[in-house]
Symmetry: D2
Subunit: 358 residues, 4 copies
């Protein structure tokens, strides 16, 4: 199912509200707890020797992140909340028609969630759809719990897939709307961002060997919160955790930071993109050779950001095989010695900007 044309189901797709949580397999639960709880300040809803359920400060559902102890660091689910219980039925029918492997559990796959369906989607990702979920206290007003880098919302997922246009069509039929993408003059698509909840994205497809998980992103209220996370990591002598940024994205216009958790899973901290909820929201297409597309200030993207990503699991918990991207890679066309990227079209970069590439 991870190659070839994906048929359009006749079934109605589920009405997806938003990306809601990710189930992440980690190999050292204590190390992950230190990272997500002690350093990043996510709130523990409940935990055991093998699982930790975490949420952001403004969340009212049971969790935005499940850390589950396992043998291989990977992603067990990209979980979306749907509008009604019936939308879980719709999701099940939709993916059955697509010929995907589908599993439904009336009591959920994780704690706090009720009737739910998980699928191995046509791109090879473990997708989940649920409505029933335990409500917990929304801690938005509990400022006594806010650290200086407080994470207030789950914002989005980001997935690596070899063929972005193929994935995009499938996702649009599922009900997602594209807000921005990166292309070149030959029509190659390198990435696409798509949403349900009226922000720039609930998930994005990044072109590369996949299926893999590129990152999960949490929001802060302001930019200084993100800067503080860097400062704190420096103080803890964990600045290595910072992979890229902080910076301003071109795509999404948000302020960002990329971290790597103890298993290498990538976490983005993100703030201040824009409203996209109108159906005719204008799509922004970026030229892959525009060096401000990934970082508005022209800061170079570290190679690992392009190459590294997390395996995803099938419904048996086995890592999905990786299919290589056949089209050109964004890294190859932008940070080689060719100096393709431009800040101002037709002008050369100053020598000091080339330092990283030479």
């Amino acid at each position: 199912m991870t190659n070839g044309i994906i048929p359009t189901p006749t079934a109605t797709p589920p009405d997806i509200l938003r990306c809601a949580f990710m189930e992440l397999v980690v190999t050292d639960l204590a190390a992950s707890r230190e990272f997500y709880v002690d350093i990043l300040g996510l709130v523990v809803t409940e935990e055991s020797d093998t699982e930790i359920y975490l949420r952001s400060l403004e969340e009212f559902i049971h969790h935005n992140l499940v850390l589950r102890l396992g043998p291989v660091a990977a992603v067990a689910s990209f979980s979306y909340r749907v509008r009604t219980p019936e939308d879980v039925d719709r999701a099940e029918a939709y993916y059955r028609e697509l010929g995907c492997r589908v599993e439904r559990r009336a009591t959920g796959f994780v704690r706090g969630v009720g009737d739910s369906v998980r699928v191995e989607d046509p791109l090879g990702f473990p997708y989940e759809f649920f409505y029933q979920v335990d409500h917990v206290e929304r801690l938005a007003w509990n400022y006594e719990l806010y650290g200086a880098g407080a994470l207030v919302r789950l914002d989005h997922f980001n997935q690596v897939t070899p063929d972005v246009p193929r994935g995009r069509t499938y996702m649009e039929e599922l009900g997602f709307r594209v807000t921005e993408d990166i292309k070149d003059e030959d029509g190659v698509t390198y990435a696409a961002w798509m949403h349900r909840k009226g922000t720039v994205h609930d998930t994005a497809l990044t072109g590369g060997d996949g299926p893999r998980m590129h990152h999960i992103a949490f929001s802060t209220h302001e930019k200084h919160n993100i800067i503080y996370i860097c400062d704190k990591l420096g103080a803890l002598r964990k600045s290595d955790t910072i992979e890229r940024g902080p910076g301003r994205h071109g795509v999404s216009n948000a302020f960002y930071l990329y971290l790597r958790d103890p298993d290498g899973h990538r976490v983005e901290i993100y703030t201040q993109d824009y409203y996209t909820g109108d159906p005719d929201n204008p799509v922004v297409t970026w030229d892959v050779h525009d060096n401000q597309r990934r970082d508005w200030w022209g800061s170079p993207v570290v190679p690992s950001w392009y190459t590294d990503a997390s395996p995803v699991l099938d419904l048996d918990g086995i890592p999905q095989p990786i299919v290589a991207r056949e089209e050109p890679s964004e890294m190859a066309v932008t940070i080689g010695a060719d100096g393709f990227s431009y800040t101002r079209k037709g002008e050369d970069m100053p020598e000091y900007k080339l330092g990283y590439q030479l």
Copy 2:
């Protein structure tokens, strides 16, 4: 129509996306331009001797605010964007069934907007529903245009109406969902906040003599942007323009500032409320005697904030008559000499906090 029970139409209500713009009648266009353009930095899409069309920096539709020169400072429309052209038909049918006065214009009531319907709604407000609108440049990335207090979005309206529960039922049937409200132990409702776009509100109903417009609110990205607006008003010796704040709302958890424009129309500057897009988003009910409900820091609310509001016009441009609120007023029950409001239930306020009330 502004009293009595409002029937529930059998027609399907329009699918409203969001509050989109307000048409505001002002009596001195140059003074209003100075306020909204020179001081607050809204972007002029187009203007003439009698009208100015303004938008926020992240907007892609033609305008969020129309200033129109007229004899009496008032509101000519609360304008909502709907999801499809057919939703304009739905709006027309819905209000016709309600028995409201309805006017439809294929070429719109203002520049930049196409097929549109305006109504005198059951609460006496001039409501507008449109889909067709000119797209203009979204200036989100044009940081060279951002002042230190940049307004990036229209966030919400706020309406004064005598009977909040009556209005609330009507608005819920129209498709709005309540996120927060203020009540007392006798069941009196003092205000309710309701949304379409997944924030705390697209509009709110504030109990008082009405129909009147309480305020229109624009968003900034961060709190320091709001502080800067105050600093700038001080520098311009226009600090009188500041009516209330800046402060932190209890309701909505947002950071706020209230200004009064040259005609006395109230404008809120607002930032950082929370996501409300799930259908089971928990409603937060505040006790009217909780002195942190309106300002989380317990700062007193200036009386004018409770008493002043702008007239609204009927479809002929005549100010709607004002109907008095019959239930207790929030101001009377909270800032009288009775000292009813509490910070910590059962404890007295320190004497220095009572200074404003004596």
Copy 3:
């Protein structure tokens, strides 16, 4: 000594570096610890059953604040650090020549401080001068210890004294330089700010019944840190602790907040004044009738801010008697029914601004 002309000593005054710490007598050490440590986040250098030594995050000397358990809430010392050990000798000689009561202790009056002199100064305040002090770890880089409202420096003291010009002359002879003051058209001085360390002040003299301590001020790095302190107090249902602000000062141009500790001692949180270290730094004189002098946004000053202050102790620990101010009080001339204060000279205030005064 608290009336009459203060002679100019022939002795050389000590070379004062900066305000360094205050010794504060509190009546409930646990309550004070909760306020200063748990809420405000000052760092405990050491503590016992009767004393707590606290410092700000960027400090390298033993403490900026001593909380000492005692029967009456009061100030036991305004302590300044001097440039050399010899400046302690100079301070001793200077005050002896002034005829003040002077006490010198080679091992200091509090822990962490060595050779030191305390005096009952001509205005009735307990002033201390020391050079020897234990160095402790400067925690500037320890971001893991920073809360969202982190206090990084002690900035200044503020003293209430009946006759400001009398006090100002004495302080200038002691080496302080005035940066700003508030006067009226009759030449009455209501307050004066004066410094040693190159900021707007190390201390200020506020006209009123005295000697009393008006406030002690700590600095944050940014304005959002101060806003967070308010948000946290709201969350803890301690918003009553907020007496005035947050706001922007006219005088000093700093962003501010005034709190009251459990004993009623006033604490300011302060950020972003300007450099004043040049000897010809221009003095800024404010008109007492300018309603932006105390708050740049024209927010009213709560009466308690003018009237309340803490007693100060003599060297025996007995509260100094209070001498009444004979000149007009700033409160009386600015917030009476006379409506004297102006925003723009010659123009009336809008009615909504008068609400607090009626």
Copy 4:
């Protein structure tokens, strides 16, 4: 004079207040004006066809930067303000005793400055000392003039010199106090920071081929101001102007950004270091192999930042010859393939951090 031992004068050094302005020779005055005025928002005090006098928003002296049109981009003076007119005499005598070339002009070398002395100092830099200067309006309260990236103060200079210990001794004798430095285990000094005004530095000595000017630094109030400058440069398609950062320094603990002006002169934007005015302020020594010393988050330093700097002029306006540094260069020992730098001593860097170096 740029080699060999620098004698200690018997003359009293001048009492230096602070770094006050730099005279910068630029080759295209219009391009420089666009950079410093239109983009960075420095205030023009006066200008002609060949010179522009600029100041920061909180400055009260005539200028902090002189842009002078000339044939070669270079620095004509590092100008310090002294405490009294007599300190200009002291500076003259001091440098004459040092055997330096000295020129004194009663009417100053630039507009706005009176009696002044310029010298070719023992390290080859054009140093200036003056007291008399025109006062201009301090615009601290003129928020209507503040852009979102407002520069409020001149903070410091940074000079490149081959032999840092030699330069440090000379500067200490001149009255500067070292606050931080970078060394290695063999005792090599790579850089030293030194102050007069109570901040981390008024100037720093950076080891390298010199004499050259490394950068001039202006302060903002908050970190978001610096981020905005990057955002604006991106919007203007001038992101190439950004050489390094934004980031958090290890040394100084300040938040920073390095830009390159149209001639390649380096400008730092800087905020939030700490108070250093006590004579026993603890010196912080950083290990050159600590990769958090230059950037607290471990972000790599671009090679140009180590290698590029501006020529400085002698008193005839001729560029000073460059003397090569003989000791190891910081760049060579830290960003070579040797991977010397550590985040946590004894641990290896993760592979993704090595991307820039391989």
